[in-house]
């Protein structure tokens, strides 16, 4: 039986740097790594959504109308180039967002509360409606009416 050398130094190999790994890393562009990161995170998001719904790969394949579970494995591997159609279907089945194609920000809804206060008590609700109509309907919301209408 071959007897191998046994090292006991506590710091043996601590300063090891892999020349080949360093060389391979230097050949990766930021764009290439970004693309791989995106595919991996996409797969991770789909996998997490499956788990959240208690789905295994077989169940997910059935829900997606796919016969081959091996295809689902590939989807989840971080190596697959999805079609947009598949991503839309995955979004629907898992109720998640994978594609965000909104081009405009929706306008914030500003709610203006019509506040009417006045020490004058002679105004009735009819008076107020008439006043608003005379002032041009909804435009009145930008003005402050210092009137109080009782009941």
């Amino acid at each position: 039986m071959t007897e191998k050398i046994i090292h006991t130094e506590d710091n043996w190999g601590d300063d090891y740097f892999s020349p080949i790994f360093g060389d391979l890393q230097s050949k990766i562009s930021a764009e290439q790594q970004e693309e791989t990161n995106y595919k991996m995170k996409l797969a991770a998001k789909i996998y997490q959504a499956m788990k959240a719904r208690g789905m295994n790969q077989t169940q997910f394949a059935v829900a997606m109308g796919e016969r081959q579970v091996s295809l689902i494995s590939r989807w989840l591997s971080g190596t697959h180039n999805f079609t947009i159609g598949t991503l839309i279907a995955v979004q629907r089945v898992l109720d998640i967002t994978l594609l965000d194609v909104e081009t405009t920000k929706s306008q914030p809804v500003v709610q203006i509360k019509l506040s009417v206060s006045s020490p004058i008590s002679e105004w009735t609700r009819f008076n107020l409606d008439q006043y608003i109509s005379d002032m041009g309907g909804m435009a009145i919301t930008e003005k402050t009416i210092a009137q109080t209408v009782e009941g």
Binding site: I20, Q25, T36, Y47, R74, L76, T79
Partner: protein, 151 residues
């Protein structure tokens, strides 16, 4: 985020290398694109997604508890990198090769590398169980006696 370890050892005449280095050296010329894809995916595992199960082919070893698996290999090439996946936060990378047979048992090189990882796994699990190796509080580090000695 995750930590990726590998197995370091000494060749004849004192040269230090690792299982992962050997994998890169053997296959960088024969499978350059696949190897670069593996490096990018390893970067993603470490810095972006963690080592979630979906990125691996699990249960590659002969013992259901040995945690031996393979980084997902693209079907057209089947370049296998065998690993020990402890959990989402820590994986030990080994060596591997192209899989042209139905099972790894039928390929002498793959069989050697899977068994190597099974041996490492057994030592690791024993040391984790008896406390000579411990996980750091954040799960990203193995502390303690990381030596694996063979005679």
């Amino acid at each position: 985020m995750a930590s990726l370890y590998t197995v370091m050892f000494e060749l004849a005449e004192g040269e230090i290398t690792t299982k992962l280095d050997q994998f890169f050296q053997k296959y960088r010329d024969r499978y350059p694109e696949e190897l670069m894809d593996i490096v990018r995916r390893l970067n993603s595992l470490g810095k972006e997604t963690g080592c979630t199960e979906n990125f691996f082919k699990l249960d590659e070893g002969l013992n259901p508890d040995d945690m031996v698996c393979a980084l997902y290999d693209v079907p057209e090439i089947n370049l296998r990198l065998y690993c020990i996946r402890l959990d989402d936060q820590l994986t030990i990378l080994g060596d591997g090769g192209p899989k042209a047979t139905r099972t790894w048992q039928e390929d002498a090189n793959l069989k050697k590398e899977v068994h190597a990882m099974m041996d490492v796994s057994m030592v690791l699990r024993t040391k984790l169980k008896n406390g000579t190796i411990k996980r750091s509080a954040n799960g990203l580090r193995l502390d303690g006696d990381l030596w694996i000695t063979k005679t």
